[in-house]
Symmetry: C2
Subunit: 151 residues, 2 copies
């Protein structure tokens, strides 16, 4: 277990005791799987990974755990409008997404200058900005390379 992971787990335990909630085997397993994956994912992916090792883990528990991680500031909800709620590890405040239309991978990045400019445009329309999301869809370099190989 690396340093970052240990720190996150500490943070989570602190959150639990502050709220009078309890640490359980399931939550620990789900948090491990989530952190080990180290990329944004949707719940069924985690669920399948976990079922491989622990067949008795429940669907609803994974949903509940991820929502809990989000409210603890460990995970960030990502909603790309495809009907699935994804979660990413909440380091920093990235809200710019590159979504590959081929493989579905979601890459996150942050670009402060665009956001500042965009927010200013909104203000000029009399709009008070609270949050911002930029979503770029296309083809990632990996899929592009594969497509090249086929032709």
């Amino acid at each position: 277990m690396n340093q970052t992971k240990r720190k996150v787990k500490e943070q989570f335990h602190l959150f639990l005791s502050n709220k009078g909630l309890k640490g359980t085997l399931q939550r620990s397993l789900i948090l491990d799987a989530f952190l080990d994956l180290d990329r944004s994912t949707h719940i069924d992916e985690l669920y399948l990974i976990l079922r491989g090792k622990h067949p008795n883990i429940g669907h609803a528990t994974v949903y509940r755990a991820l929502r809990l991680f989000a409210s603890a500031g460990i995970a960030r909800e990502i909603n790309l409008g495809d009907g699935l709620t994804r979660y990413g590890v909440a380091g920093g405040r990235r809200h710019d997404y590159l979504v590959c239309n081929d493989c579905g991978t979601v890459t996150e990045f942050e670009n402060g200058s665009i956001e500042r400019y965009q927010a200013e445009v909104a203000r000029s329309m009399g709009f008070t900005v609270q949050s911002l999301k930029i979503e770029l869809r296309g083809v990632c370099n990996r899929c592009m390379a594969q497509a090249g190989r086929h032709s």
Copy 2:
């Protein structure tokens, strides 16, 4: 019936005959309601308006019609990740949204310079951009004014 509306309806009839599809009373009613509304909306809003005049119109028919309008290039799907699919009239290629967290209104605008810059950033990450969506959430000036009045 104004000029723009007539033009859109012509475009739709052309689309239908090209595809071997049929013009029906329902499709005409739904298209009228959609164009008359003149702002992005979700299906239930249209459905309720239509039910007022024509009680026999079906839920599924409205869904089907809007999908049809989208594939005819008349409507544009807007997916803001709140679980509702909205539709806007497809004039131009706007894909920047101001969503009011208070009243839920969706205002669309376009900002070419941001998009060009953003696409360039993506390319530098080896990503080929196909489409772009910018979503700003906050409070619109109307709601802001009302909030001011209360305090």
